[in-house]
Subunit: 349 residues, 2 copies
């Protein structure tokens, strides 16, 4: 791999705000990851801190520290954190200037565009890639219905909330399908998917609202025309009833998903970031019914087990499976084999 | 009124694409309407053609024709048509150049921005107002939950489809509330609402997706803080299951609407503009259940009666009312009195 990146996660690595960093460490990644900047963990292995598996990716105190001690030369510096409203944490600014001055290409998925910072843009001879830079209406496509003639079945990975593992489950499912010889593509809808090297998709939340359905359709149609896969997985965004930005019906109504894999977090009580408000996650049974009414069907559930002990998580999985009569698994612990099996059965793949 | 406008509806007046024009003729309007450009109806009265009531607004063959024959001097030229994807019909171009050359301010609600046309922008000394010009993320607000502390109840006017009368019903309800001494504001979510002079709102479909809920919240909070109304009506957009852009859950989940008035079109079979596809409107009962699951409740139904005879429409209203046990009225024919009464009862207003 020719492109080598350092990731900025300054002080946020242990939070869901660093889910982009987590995804890139877990892999795959568009860039070889040389290290992660987070002074809290300086000297440790990022994989070991993430999930107990060492991956030879070290934490560094600062960008200066990393550039001094790395043997390989990085080509890119990736902002690895997402924040509410997409504003750049000030802790990252200094490191970005150091990276830009060293000639690295800056890659940023926040709504706050680095290219809008005149000082930074002046220094960044290696360029700036602002993934969430909005595209004008003239470059966007309205929904046409062309999707209705795409024969490849679409499976949407939706969820109860943000930052709950939808993309990870989609990627694990793709890996499992591929191992079984089923040609599978994932349509990315967030910046992390792009950073992980997915080819087809768009940045859902940085798209003008009127064109979200059309861009989703365009990505699927293009994917179908160029790769003719056996199945297309759709990375969901947000949640159907997230008050900060309800989403998901696009995947059912516009992309005409045949089935849904639903990501659930039994231990989470409130919508992410709104623990101080009266904004509770709805019951799973209601979400399943909502998806049915919207026009699709939940074929399996994947549990995000943070906050649950292994025995507790296993018990919940067993209970939910008995209640809803569909596979309920823990993606990271059990793997997604049973979800893939049920999809193959239902689609005769 | 100091601002006087001519509206461009060239050749599209009789279609739903001219709903902006229809709204401005029906009133209210930010501008005094001097005339409508549409060669098909040249010489006729626009109100008479719209709904049988003359309003002293004449149709003209062209902008040149209008400027020659009008006694009053127009100050603004409004693009009165909306099209799929928001592209400017070429028939309007010549008239826009004539208007711009005459010093009129051009007002445009299409996604295609007039200010992007260098030739037109050069000629338009009176300026260009592009209502759908996207605002950058830095000017937009993310949802915070502040809405939860706004005591004024919100009522959303949602519907089965686009171009079905949601805004018109909301405005008729506001008028009726005001006549009964109930202070009422309507939050606009489309360009026509702004053109009709509504003070609080935003252009839903030209907003970056991540900020739709926040901008809706901001408009409501600002409206509450500045006017302290008794009730706030929310102009819905699109439809919950419109494949070209499902929308509506924002009004329930993000704006926390207490109740919903649902605009229904019994004679419409397919989603607007997709008559050639297998995209049928869902049954009313399902939409009512969907709204319940999303967290609100349908308190009344307003019928869009195009395609139905008066007796047929009345029969359908009676049947639906018996079935759903809520008022079912025809806004334009019956007025919205019964909807207002039921909202007052439910809210103890």
């Amino acid at each position: 791999m020719e492109k080598r990146a350092l990731i900025l996660a300054n002080g946020l690595f242990d939070s869901v705000f660093a889910k982009t960093t987590h995804g890139l460490i877990r892999g795959p990644s568009r860039y070889e990851i040389l290290g992660v900047i987070d002074p809290e963990h300086a000297g440790q292995d990022a994989g070991a801190v993430l999930d107990g598996y060492e991956r030879g990716i070290r934490f560094y105190r600062s960008m200066t520290d990393a550039l001094q001690h790395l043997s390989a030369t990085p080509t890119h510096c990736v902002v690895g954190v997402a924040t509410v409203g997409g504003v750049l944490p000030s802790a990252l600014k200094e490191d970005l200037f150091v990276a830009a001055s060293a000639g690295l290409t800056l890659v940023n998925g926040l709504h706050q565009l680095l290219s809008d910072d005149a000082e930074l843009a002046k220094v960044a001879k290696g360029g700036i890639i602002d993934l969430r830079k909005p595209r004008p209406a003239s470059e966007l496509r309205f929904w046409t219905g062309e999707i209705l003639s795409v024969p490849t079945p679409r499976i949407a990975v939706l969820g109860m909330d943000c930052a709950i593992g939808k993309r990870t489950t989609a990627m694990l499912m793709q890996k499992s399908f591929l191992e079984q010889g089923i040609a599978t593509e994932v349509i990315y809808t967030g910046q992390t998917g792009w950073l992980q090297g997915m080819k087809y998709g768009f940045i859902f939340d940085a798209t003008l609202n009127d064109f979200v359905s059309g861009e989703l359709e365009r990505a699927i149609v293009q994917c179908y025309q160029e790769t003719k896969p056996d199945v297309i997985l759709l990375e969901g965004q947000s949640a159907l009833r997230n008050p900060a930005g309800p989403a998901g019906s696009e995947f059912i109504c516009s992309a005409q998903a045949s089935g849904v894999i639903f990501q659930h977090a039994p231990a989470r009580i409130h919508f992410e970031d709104f623990e101080h408000l009266d904004c509770m996650l709805p019951p799973l049974a209601e979400e399943i019914e909502l998806i049915r009414l919207l026009g699709s069907e939940v074929w399996g559930v994947s549990l995000f087990t943070r906050g649950l002990g292994p025995a507790q998580a296993a018990k919940i999985a067993t209970e939910l499976e008995a209640k809803h009569q569909i596979p309920v698994i823990r993606s990271l612990e059990d793997g997604v084999g049973r979800l893939v099996t049920t999809i193959r059965e239902r689609l005769n793949l």
